[in-house]
């Protein structure tokens, strides 16, 4: 918008000055995104889109305990949908700011976790045929304002097929030294999840955690599963 200015030689009047002020004011007040050129705003002007980013590197090994049941012993109940609540809590992966939880300010929450399964460490029982398959299930859960979400769609499973035992049939539930144990597995479970929590204002409490359970798929026994290291974390972003 042009500014109407007095002609050279004209007397400067109150009206001519206020007229120019009004013209400038009109331009400034009508300013929108179309008048802002590229790269106008940089990191020096705009705050980070990341509200909070936290992660935990876990180097404390954790063992998911297998079930030392043998012949004639009922296997523990397992169902990937209904038994998640009873699964073993992986304590090193409890990410809750020392129990208090993290205070977030709404927006988007990106969650991620990666855990390495290195080996099956202890053998229970004997007499199983080679080819026993063991499943190791993980559930990545989170808590928002005290409400725990351990959803089946956030469960993942790794399966390892090894010769689980060549021990004696007489004492199937007693761990038997076996040179084939521990056996290397070297599988990694990774998981991401995104939440749109813009509706939660002004703040909300947030925690993350992991549960695990191992069960046999084929064969009569399960062994302990060693998880030597991993990491867990989240990124809280503005927007949505």
């Amino acid at each position: 918008m042009p500014v109407t200015v007095p002609e050279s030689g004209d007397p400067i009047t109150k009206a001519s000055v206020t007229g120019m002020y009004d013209d400038v004011r009109a331009v400034v007040n009508a300013q929108d995104e179309s008048t802002v050129s590229r790269a106008t705003f940089g990191i020096q002007h705009v705050p980070s889109i990341v509200q909070q980013a936290e992660f935990l590197e876990v180097t404390t090994p954790v063992t998911v305990t297998g079930s030392p049941y043998g012949f004639g012993t009922p296997p523990p109940t397992f169902d990937e949908i209904t038994t998640i609540g009873t699964w073993q809590v992986l304590a090193p992966y409890t990410f809750d700011n020392g129990g208090a939880g993290f205070t977030l300010n709404g927006g988007i929450v990106l969650m991620y976790c990666s855990i390495r399964w290195s080996e099956q460490a202890v053998k229970y029982g004997s007499g199983a045929a080679p080819g026993c398959a063991q499943e190791l299930w993980f559930n990545f859960n989170y808590t928002v304002n005290g409400v725990l979400y351990q959803l089946p769609q956030n469960s993942r499973m790794l399966r390892n097929t090894i010769d689980m035992s060549y021990g004696t049939l007489a004492s199937p539930s007693v761990p038997v030294p076996d040179p084939s144990f521990p056996q290397r597995v070297e599988e990694t479970v990774t998981w991401w999840h995104v939440l749109d929590l813009r509706a939660l204002t002004p703040t909300f409490n947030f925690k993350m955690g992991v549960k695990a359970m191992t069960q046999r798929a084929t064969g009569p026994y399960t062994s302990d599963c060693t998880l030597p290291n991993g990491h867990i974390g989240f990124v809280n972003l503005y927007g949505g």
């Binding site: 200015v5 007095p6 120019m20 400038v24 002007h45 397992f78 990937e80 972003l237 927007g239």
Partner: protein
């Protein structure tokens, strides 16, 4: 926004042209600004709260493998298998995860008027039935090899896909283990326009001389599956050159 007028000095005769330039300059600055007109930290975090400074698109499918103690997961084409489990076509290349319908396919689609930085994540459960080759596998075994990728606007993105320890010496043919809990991630800048992102997967064997008809039992066309799966994209606006009005 910053503007520093010169003003009229004491004793100076007011020149209408000089005085007018003060206002004209102010109008020009306001009409097409650059970073030098704005103070540091001019926007606080309240400015970002609730805005679409980044956006998310997501698609997810939950599956029940019906895994119970002492039994294999129930996978297609077993009776009673969860209908959401997607069976990977054998030797058909990369195919979109899902049944091909817009509702059943793991797919994101959006239109943007500006270039965007995107973070795309595909995370899913891969599982296949056990077979005899799992225990005593040799490089020549016809073990199933799976590959999963992110597909952006029809192009399978290189560099995405599951990582797994190759079994024995067979490398580069895909993932040979019988399960994977995988996440693949892409970060890149994409231009303005309409974009379609899909999770895709394919499977084959590693024995090039064998036709699928001579594949060992069970047939690879069954029980090689993607279970629970999720695909999401976080879009960060990049902006573009806009000329002043």
């Amino acid at each position: 926004m910053l503007f520093f007028p010169n003003g009229v000095m004491p004793g100076e005769v007011i020149d209408p042209d000089k005085l007018a330039r003060e206002f004209i300059e102010a109008a020009n600055l306001a009409g097409q600004t650059n970073q030098w007109q704005w103070k540091k930290d001019i926007f606080n975090t309240d400015y970002l709260r609730g805005l679409d400074c980044c956006r998310i698109e997501q698609s997810q499918v939950a599956c029940d493998l019906q895994s119970v103690q002492g039994a294999e997961p129930i996978l297609p084409d077993d009776p009673g298998a969860d209908s959401n489990i997607w069976k990977i076509p054998f030797k058909r290349g990369f195919m979109p995860m899902g049944d091909g319908t817009p509702a059943g396919t793991l797919q994101l689609q959006w239109t943007t008027e500006y270039p965007e930085l995107v973070l795309i994540v595909l995370t899913c459960q891969y599982v296949r039935r056990l077979d005899s080759s799992d225990e005593f596998m040799n490089p020549g075994d016809d073990c199933i090899r799976m590959q999963a990728r992110i597909q952006l606007d029809g192009a399978v993105l290189p560099g995405t896909g599951p990582f797994g320890t190759p079994i024995y010496t067979v490398r580069g043919t895909g993932y040979a283990q019988n399960t994977a809990a995988l996440s693949t991630i892409y970060v890149g800048v994409i231009p303005a326009g309409t974009h379609v992102v899909q999770g895709v997967a394919g499977q084959s064997d590693n024995a090039h001389v064998n036709a699928e008809t001579v594949f060992q039992a069970p047939a690879p066309v069954d029980k090689v599956c993607i279970g629970t799966r999720s695909l999401f994209a976080v879009r960060f606006a990049r902006g573009s050159l806009l000329v002043g009005a």
